[in-house]
């Protein structure tokens, strides 16, 4: 049953996810108060397709109600935008966004800096210490609570820029709240999927249209691919960095019943340490099996980020990896730049690219509820002081249905649920392969713990634990216990 379900996705067919939709509806009706533009209780790929293109949006007109279009001021903003590894279309969309904002607010001087994903948090920490921060920052979801807890952010909710909180996913809104106060607005919501090369599956004797249904299947498939073809089966990522590693390992950890804290439970308290439990150890054992026992993951996994998986994948040297739908656009880009024999291989890989749900574990199917949030920094910490109106004009533009859809073009989903009703969503659904997968993973999304220590847990303790196992510096049990001790120490304020 599960496999045919995944196959339907792989082929890009519509999918009925009644059970998940029902579960989602129950959770949402309890947490979303009222006035939603989109009926989340009906959430399914058919529903998303049925509402796409039903609402016309005039962003400038909507934002003019918050900040008049003739307002004269200035705004500075830092964000992580497209980089060398991004598909061209991402760069084009971002350029269009800045042009549209400048055209609408001609009298607002704009100073924007695109800062690398792995450097943005560090740079903001330093800048806030020196009162040299920008007025607005768009941060990865993991970073919000740290700065909110330190008092750097101004309280900010969708209503402050003319939207309704009910039009944003409850999970995303949770990530911007600290001690009951909202300090930002989600800009996009990410959930990843499993990408595989059907040709590699075929040659390895696996069903090319069947992704692994469980994480144990991932281990077995990875071994079979490596043993039969001599290429890496699963693109494991275990470098210490700002996101790539926990975004790919935590879904596995949660699927086995583990967790950093109790973030995967229905009512997380963020006080119970679960990284040393049996589920976490089972997840660690499975990556150990792939990397050490079977040697079916890239040897370079310990120094790799997801970017380093792209070239082996397009070269037909990697069977599976966890990634965004943007990976498809990236592969098309890479294939278009390849020449000679490489071009033939790359084209074949693109043709054989498949995208399915992230595998289940013994306890659940899970994915990181990721994305980014946008914040206004208090005037005391801003270089030159804050222009609040200009900042709100920009945020209104950014988080509205139009640009939260367009800026998420190949990467993720609009944070503003009204975005799903726009003609741009319809265009995305028609033009972006595998988009259904990522929208369908949203109900399985689990946010990282909403505590200030979350960045250290996810970006340092979790990768360290993995490296301790993969280098055999520690046994699985020792590494998990060591991590649990460190997390407990953090909670105890050490």
């Amino acid at each position: 049953m599960e496999k045919s379900h995944d196959r339907a996705f792989a082929a890009g067919w519509p999918l009925r996810r009644c059970a998940l939709a029902m579960g989602l509806a129950v959770s949402l009706t309890t947490s979303v108060a009222h006035a939603q533009s989109v009926d989340l209780s009906k959430w399914s790929t058919e529903y998303i397709r049925s509402i796409a293109g039903t609402e016309e949006v005039d962003t400038a007109a909507e934002c003019s109600k918050v900040v008049p279009l003739d307002y004269k001021g200035r705004v500075s903003v830092w964000w992580t935008g497209p980089n060398d590894a991004s598909p061209d279309i991402s760069r084009q969309v971002h350029e269009q966004f800045w042009a549209a904002f400048k055209a609408a607010y001609r009298n607002i001087a704009l100073d924007y800096q695109n800062i690398d994903y792995n450097q943005l948090i560090d740079k903001l920490r330093t800048a806030t210490l020196g009162n040299a921060a920008p007025m607005v920052v768009r941060l990865q979801i993991l970073g919000s609570v740290e700065f909110a807890s330190k008092g750097y952010f101004m309280p900010l909710k969708p209503e402050d820029v003319g939207y309704s909180s009910a039009d944003f996913w409850p999970g995303a809104m949770k990530s911007v709240r600290y001690q009951g106060v909202s300090y930002g607005i989600p800009t996009n919501n990410e959930t990843m999927g499993l990408i595989w090369n059907a040709d590699i599956f075929n040659r390895a004797g696996l069903d090319p249209e069947h992704p692994p249904a469980t994480w144990n299947d991932v281990v077995a498939y990875s071994k079979q691919i490596h043993d039969k073809l001599g290429v890496a089966g699963y693109g494991l990522v275990a470098k210490q960095n700002a996101g790539n590693t926990p975004f790919r390992f935590m879904p596995e950890l949660w699927a086995f019943g583990g967790g950093a804290l109790d973030e995967a439970s229905d009512k997380p308290t963020y006080k119970k340490v679960e990284i040393g439990n049996d589920g976490s150890k089972a997840a660690l054992q499975s990556i150990y099996d792939m990397y050490v026992r079977d040697k079916s993951a890239p040897v370079s996994a310990l120094t790799n980020t997801q970017d380093e998986n792209q070239n082996p994948f397009i070269a037909g040297r990697l069977g599976m990896m966890i990634a965004h739908p943007a990976e498809y656009a990236k592969m098309v880009d890479l294939a278009s730049k390849a020449t000679g024999a490489d071009k033939a291989v790359a084209d074949q890989v693109v043709r054989n690219m498949r995208y399915g749900l992230i595998p289940k574990g013994p306890v659940r199917r899970a994915v990181v509820f990721g994305g980014s949030n946008i914040h206004i920094i208090k005037t005391d910490y801003v270089d030159g002081g804050l222009d609040e109106k200009a900042a709100k004009a920009l945020i209104c533009f950014w988080t509205g249905p139009e640009w939260s859809t367009k800026l998420a073009w190949v990467d993720s989903n609009p944070s503003n649920l009204r975005g799903f009703k726009t003609k741009w969503m319809k265009e995305r659904l028609a033009s972006i392969k595998f988009l259904d997968v990522t929208t369908s993973m949203l109900p399985d999304g689990i946010p990282f713990p909403v505590i200030p220590e979350s960045t250290e847990i996810m970006n340092i303790i979790v990768p360290d634990m993995m490296q301790n196992v993969l280098t055999q510096k520690m046994s699985v049990s020792e590494a998990a216990d060591d991590a649990a001790k460190k997390v407990q120490g953090l909670l105890d304020g050490q």
Partner: protein, 320 residues
């Protein structure tokens, strides 16, 4: 007896007073010189002295991730105790010693060999010198990325060549292995900085008197004897300075280990300076990181003391 003691006590005191008077007199005489360097001194006070003071101050405070710096908590020497008693400190210190000593040693020896080889006149010497200088002038960041790809454990050029020439049956695991990662990084570091040693020692070789070498040759000294008994003693001063500068640079070398491995895998290439960065910016323990930085500062200052001694030894001799 007591008189003897008094005399012994007063003699140094008098000498001290005489020296103080001498220094003051020198300052007055060279007041214009001091005025010339005043702007530079002021800039140094702002960009060097204040950060050092602030780091020392911060090392006595706790900075939890949910507090702003202004709300930091005074903890006395607890941060120093945390560093010195941490389980990873011994491993990191050992890595730092290996990294510093081997990088310095190999860079010096290679630099000396290159300087000696290029000291003789031959066709293309200038070109060769320029080529050997390239690693030193290449950006460390760019070099680190290039070496990372050369070393790549799955698709690296070095590994591929090793397989192609039948040296190994699979690509060599340079960076994703706790045993090989540090030596691999040291190779990159030595490649990057040996030309600095070469330049310094080439300059030193110009000071070796040619007549002495000729006299030694006439006396029948072998090549090795000429080097050991004539050339090397003349290079002692510049060698000392080169080694100390390399040691200080290597103790503070951040770019290569950080970009190539981030201190991994499993801490196998973590050295003091990368650890300090992780503690400060990854874990936001600015107080603990500051205490760590103070320890590094003290070690560097000790080396700096010997550097200044080596540098001023000649001039003191001349002054006397």
């Amino acid at each position: 007896m007591s008189l003897a003691i008094d005399r012994k006590a007063t003699a140094p005191a008098t000498a001290l007073q005489r020296r103080r008077g001498h220094i003051l007199q020198q300052i007055v005489e060279h007041r214009a010189d001091y005025l010339y360097i005043l702007p530079a001194m002021l800039v140094m006070l702002i960009v060097i002295a204040y950060p050092i003071y602030y780091t020392i101050e911060l090392s006595f405070f706790k900075t939890p991730p949910n507090l702003q710096m202004k709300d930091k908590i005074f903890v006395g020497f607890a941060n120093y105790a945390t560093i010195l008693s941490s389980a990873s400190f011994r491993e990191t210190t050992l890595n730092t010693l290996i990294w510093t000593l081997f990088s310095t040693g190999f860079a010096f020896v290679l630099g000396l060999a290159a300087a000696l080889a290029l000291h003789r006149e031959f066709a293309g010497r200038g070109l060769l010198r320029a080529i050997l200088l390239i690693p030193y002038v290449v950006s460390a960041v760019a070099a680190s990325y290039v070496w990372k790809w050369l070393y790549h454990s799955d698709f690296g050029v070095i590994g591929a060549l090793a397989v192609q020439f039948g040296i190994t049956d699979k690509p060599i695991n340079f960076l994703d292995n706790t045993t090989s990662v540090l030596p691999s990084l040291i190779v990159v570091n030595v490649w990057k900085e040996f030309s600095f040693a070469m330049v310094m020692l080439t300059a030193g070789l110009q000071t070796v008197p040619e007549q002495l070498l000729r006299a030694a040759r006439v006396d029948g000294a072998s090549t090795w004897q000429r080097f050991w008994h004539v050339t090397f003693p003349h290079l002692k001063g510049v060698s000392m300075v080169t080694v100390l500068l390399l040691m200080v640079a290597n103790l503070n070398a951040f770019i290569i280990p950080w970009i190539m491995t981030g201190g991994g895998p499993a801490g196998a290439s973590t050295i003091w300076i990368t650890d300090i960065y992780t503690i400060a910016f990854g874990r936001q323990r600015y107080g603990v990181a500051s205490a760590y930085a103070v320890i590094l500062f003290i070690v560097t200052m000790v080396l700096g003391y010997f550097y200044v001694k080596a540098l001023t030894r000649g001039s003191e001799g001349r002054a006397e």
